[in-house]
């Protein structure tokens, strides 16, 4: 196998864990967080007047990106997963934007984030997104191909299902 030249930006410190989806009663609000424990916690707990119940867990991982030139490291603890534009409904705004970008060799992915404790999505800082983009683009070897990971400018986070986000849900289904 040929040794690829060492890339400047690299995914490092991969920590395995779980994406845990939980739901509150009585509000029926849902939120998700990352758990790096060896076992996803499944016990219900109270927070104010809400009781949070475990709903689902998927195997996942968190990682950092290291700039090998400076040794700086950024951890992506807010990143839940990436959503490929083509996994969205054809004709939707982002799908259409993604098609245009695709025709010039750019693959658009949306960074979907974990929820903050109040249930609203976290945000990935633009500077960190740039690192993430460089880390993935440094790995690409197909000439002319580019990855563009965007924040959720389009408000799609609340409309997508976990099946559309790159996560390992349903791996353990024994159907």
């Amino acid at each position: 196998m040929r040794e690829a030249p060492s890339p400047r930006y690299q995914l490092v410190d991969s920590v395995p864990g779980f994406v845990v989806v939980e739901r509150a009663a009585p509000s029926n609000q849902s939120r998700c967080y990352f758990c790096a424990e060896a076992t996803a916690p499944k016990e219900a707990y109270r927070e104010g007047d809400q009781e949070w119940h475990f709903e689902e867990a998927a195997q996942s991982f968190q990682f950092s990106v290291r700039d090998n030139a400076t040794g700086e490291v950024a951890r992506f603890h807010e990143l839940l997963g990436l959503l490929y534009y083509a996994c969205l409904e054809p004709g939707s705004k982002l799908h259409r934007i993604g098609e245009v970008a695709h025709s010039v060799g750019i693959s658009i992915y949306i960074a979907i984030t974990y929820d903050s404790p109040d249930g609203t999505p976290c945000e990935v800082a633009p500077s960190k997104l740039e690192w993430l983009n460089r880390a993935f683009n440094d790995r690409i070897r197909t000439p002319g191909k580019k990855i563009l990971i965007l924040p959720d400018l389009f408000g799609i986070q609340e409309q997508v299902s976990s099946g559309q986000i790159m996560l390992d849900f349903s791996l353990t289904t024994m159907a």
């Binding site: 196998m1 040929r2 690829a4 995914l11 991969s14 195997q59 996942s60 991982f61 990682f63 990436l82 959503l83 490929y84 083509a86 996994c87 695709h102 693959s107 992915y109 993935f136 790995r139 690409i140 070897r141 197909t142 191909k145 990855i147 099946g163 559309q164 986000i165 790159m166 996560l167 390992d168 791996l171």
Partner: protein, 109 residues
């Protein structure tokens, strides 16, 4: 080794046109997170995962092709998505173990 050569040697069924290129190693997994974290550009991805996200992850890390083991077939939508992203999808009735053995026999490492 070229993708087309491997497809011919193992008798893989072509579910999309073959976007021929050099293969750099093999990665076997059905887990999207594993593929994103560990698969390398130019890898041949062997999986039974036929979900659209397998194509999404394959495109993200620029693997050269997806080999679906155990005769798995994705939906036409997923195949169209792969073809559009210029990711070759091949299928074989062999299981992952058998695919791995054969790929090793023909010289992939």
């Amino acid at each position: 080794m070229r993708l087309q050569q491997i497809a011919d040697k193992l008798g893989l069924e072509k579910l999309t046109p073959v976007f021929d290129q050099d293969i750099d190693g093999v990665y076997i997994s059905d887990m999207i997170s594993d593929v994103i974290a560990n698969a390398k550009p130019g890898n041949l991805l062997v999986t039974v995962q036929v979900h659209a996200n397998a194509v999404a992850a394959a495109n993200l890390v620029d693997v050269c092709a997806i080999v679906l083991a155990q005769g798995k077939r994705p939906s036409d939508d997923v195949l169209r998505m792969a073809e559009k992203a210029k990711i070759t999808v091949l299928s074989t009735p062999l299981n992952r173990w058998q695919v791995a053995s054969k790929l090793y026999e023909v010289g992939l490492r």
